[in-house]
């Protein structure tokens, strides 16, 4: 690991003041479960690390009810989200997603802010070839030329082909989460799905996050009454394994049929993928094997293989189908 300057400020304003204007100057250290690995692999080389774990401000470390909704401080650990009785009761899909993420050790260390801001697991990126993995010699994409078995099947027109890495974010997006970003100059609030961007150039990040900003809060609206929810993850191993495709489904029911649906897919595109197609396919229908299957098919209608990842199209379709079926069968919000 390269040497760096280390700051552990107490005052929030001081923390924000320590952030640089350009990427590379500073990086926020939360749980460190992702950042330290990136630094050891020499992929990210901040000159200054701003450890925010000790920043005061109770809200940053708390789960708080807000007008029937919920505000999650960015420094709350994934473990706390998984264990919270309130979340289990009102946002069970989020609790389940948190329970299934990573390992107990990582859930204890990792923060919700860090989970949202974690960097892609793309093996070209992690091996130092950049977020877009362009071969310097030929100008071609290493992903397209090489081994793309874990890469994007949707939103993969390029030049970015990695998949968005969080298995918790799709559930947050399905619940309609917003996040607050703070800098020394002030704060702004953005819908979580808008926070994720597909970079067009190598020096662009995959988040709408400025180098001098910190994610401070995640706000969830009140869960829609009577909504049914479930998420489904396709993982090869039983635990501690990167998913191959995931889906979070939130169904607002009207009698026996779906009124509206939010279908958010993970690990299939450079951003969490909201499938309007799947939502439309299931809207107005009762949920059964056939309609869920049709929604799955609609979700991947535009999907395209990069060469080695064609199987993921099937997995994504199955994830959507199973999430919808599970939501209708048991899940409730």
């Amino acid at each position: 690991m390269r040497s760096f300057e280390y700051a552990a400020p107490k005052a929030p304003q001081q923390a924000l003041g320590l952030l640089g204007r350009n990427w590379g100057e500073s990086e926020i250290l939360a749980g460190g479960t992702d950042l330290l690995a990136l630094m050891k692999d020499d992929v990210v080389r901040p000159r200054r690390l701003v450890n925010v774990k000790a920043v005061e401000g109770a809200d940053l470390h708390a789960l708080m009810r807000r007008q029937n909704g919920l505000q999650i401080g960015a420094l709350v650990s994934i473990a706390r989200v998984a264990e919270s009785a309130d979340i289990r009761q009102r946002y069970p899909m989020l609790a389940n997603a948190a329970v299934e993420a990573a390992s107990p050790q990582i859930r204890n260390m990792a923060t919700m802010g860090g989970n949202i801001c974690q960097r892609p697991r793309c093996w070209y990126f992690r091996n130092g070839f950049g977020l877009l993995a362009v071969d310097k010699k030929t100008g071609k994409s290493l992903v397209l030329e090489g081994d793309n078995r874990y890469h994007a099947i949707l939103g993969n027109e390029g030049p970015a082909y990695f998949v968005s890495p969080s298995s918790i974010v799709p559930s947050l997006v399905a619940y309609g989460a917003k996040i607050t970003l703070a800098s020394a100059k002030g704060t702004r609030e953005v819908p979580l799905e808008k926070f994720f961007v597909t970079p067009r150039e190598e020096n662009q990040r995959e988040h709408d996050l400025r180098p001098d900003e910190m994610l401070t809060f995640i706000s969830l609206p009140a869960p829609p009454a009577g909504a049914r929810v479930a998420h489904y993850e396709v993982r090869q191993k039983a635990a501690v394994d990167g998913p191959l495709a995931t889906c979070a489904a939130l169904l607002e029911m009207s009698g026996g049929t779906v009124k509206t649906a939010r279908i958010v897919m993970g690990h299939v595109a450079p951003i969490p993928w909201i499938s309007q197609e799947a939502a439309q396919a299931i809207a107005g229908k009762p949920v059964n094997e056939e309609t869920a299957e049709a929604a799955g098919a609609a979700a991947v209608a535009q999907a395209k293989s990069l060469g080695r990842n064609g199987y993921k199209i099937k997995l994504a379709r199955v994830a959507v189908k199973r999430a919808i079926l599970a939501a209708a069968q048991g899940g409730q919000a």
Partner: protein, 793 residues
Amino acid sequence: MPSYAWPPEDQRAYIGKRISRVDGPFKVSGRAKYTYDYNPKGLLYGAVLRSPYAKARIVSIDTSEAEKMPGVKSVHIVQDKGTIIQWAGDDVVALAAVTEDQAEDALRAIKVEWEPLPHFVDDEKQPPAGSGKTSGAMSQDDFVGAISNQMPQGQLIRQLTTDGVSFKVDDEFIKQAKSFSVPQPIIDALQKAPYHPESGDAPRSPYKEVRSETKGDPDSAFKSAEVTSEGVYGATVITHCCMESHGVAAEWPDPDHLVVHISTQSVSSMPGQIAGGLKGQGVNIDAANIRVEQQNVGGGVGSKFQADRWGIYVPMLSRKAGGAPVKVMLERDAELAVAGARPSHFARVKAAASRDGQITAWESEGWGTGGPGGGAAPPLPYVFDVPNQRNRYVSVATNTGPSRAWRAPQHPQAAVITMGALEDLAARLNMNPVELIRKNIGLVTEARRQIYLDELDIADKMMAWSSRWHPRGQGGNGSMMQGLGLSLHTWGGRGHASNCDLSIHPDGSVDIKMGTQDLGTGTRTTILIVAADTLGIPMEQITLNIGDSSYPTSGGSGGSTTIGGVSSSTRRAAVDARDALFAKVAPGLDTSPEKLVARGGRIFVEGDASKSLTWKQACAKLGAMPITVQGKNPGPENLTNSGVGGVQMADVSVDTETGIVKVNKMVAVQDCGLVIDLKTAESQVLGALIMGVSYALYEEKIHDPTTGIVLNDNMEFYRLAGLGDIPEMQVHMMTGKGYDERGVIGLAEPPTVSPGAAISNAVANAIGVRVPFIPLTPDRVLAALEGQKGAQA
């Protein structure tokens, strides 16, 4: 003449019982020290600059700036300018500094100018028909590359002899080769190599036929065959994934003595290997003045027999730093990229049988890679010696980290290919594979026919195979399908050469010194069991010292040779020491030594209570001097043997919508002659099953076609089975009559052979179609299912 023979069952206090590992508490409490834990005062941290290219010539190396960096104490060029690197991650420059960060910073100050060369890493594609007859003459670069990349001597000589060289081998070149300690047989072959200047520097084909054999008359046998089955089978390259990575710490207490801590499977051979390597660096030290220590090793799996490049350059770094201790442990990415690979083996197989299931013909067209040197052919067909057979194998030279022995070298791949092909044949015959095996047991070597039949019966009961087996594709309705599969395997396992010193002290204590190592298999425990059983005293009364090259030499722990070796040398030492003690005490008891027995902490004449001493009283009669004897293997009366058989069965579920395989249950039935410790033996088999589930479903070393680097050089994408992936496991060891009298036989390799094949067969049984290669990842399983649908459409 004393009798060394193993005691009969009714006279064993420990042998064959379930005894917990003596070092278990030390390991689980963190008190056991590994090479990784060796951190003496003043330790310098080593760091290594590795090749970013899979194939490239080093044009120049400039370390001047790095040498001036703060904290840097020594720099050593491992591979100098002019060298052609053959795999990404290979060691180029090593240095040592006061802190880890200083060492890493200094690495970044080294300037290497590279000339990247075209590389080749694709081993899964079947070589074009007819390829491999010749790979073309070797250029000078090829030759230098082969030497610096440790191509196996036999293979290099064969290549020089058959393909020749494209450059003039003059006296100057020979002189140079000798100065690089190129072995004489290679020099001889080089001088005799045919000269083919016309090949110039044209790149050599990566393909080389290494086996082409025909037995019987396969052509007519296939022509007259009633049923034939064809398929493609194989296993990709995997790594060893030792929990403790490879690494070395070295220091020179004075310029003529070297002390080395190294993570190794072969303590006794290290001084010689290291002395030889240092000689190549211009440092002359006698092996006798090198001391190697290692108390514990975090796994080897076959990858830790060599001193390796780091076993030489770490002592060099220490020497250049005035003898201060220097340590290099490979980081996980390097460990995965360069320090362990099991070769891939693939094959297109055709097999034929009569309608009643008699196997008549076999043909295999195989290929695979063991790294830059290509590799050897696996033993095909495995276990079953089909009367009419043709086998061809083309080795594929790739720019990937060279292969190393991996638990039961070549056998797991051979089992996947053979047992897969036979299971497919059974499916064609509409036959239960157990029945196919029984029908063809005559094709198995005679010594093991009955063993396999007995084991099949037991496995059948443990798995309830007969009542649960169903024909292919009838594994259920809906998306979850269930299936059963089986495989057979074999291994040698005769004990290696082993020596030990055993002393009985006048105070009754006993110590044993042996230059062996305990890979985690229970070697310490079994040595103590044998000694305690022979001397008739508790295991706790014996102090065992291993893991030091200054102790009597004992073989490397590989090929399942350790248990046979160490138990035999220990038995002989303990019998001789005991008999020497008998001779001392017999006159005082007014009896003759042959009448004495040692049991239960006493020395006595059976049936005569008046002629009895406690062990302590007996030892006190020694006076001032202890008894010290040496035990050896081999030696009088053969105590170890070779050749085992095993049967394994797997029960799996396959989610046909996701291609995810879950192993529900594994059953293993295994023989290994006389079992010394039933508990560690069963543990050995359980460990093999766990490892087997892991390589059957998850493990795969993935190289990037464009850059040639290992893409999954981490524990995230190099998947290993986790707790939740481990099935119910049942082990049955064959013991008692017919087995015990064979003597001790090794057990480490055999149970690792079959899991891949058994699981692959179970998946085929579940989903009705063969998934050609392991690991059985979702993409491969779904592709096979798609293919099946395509074929039906």
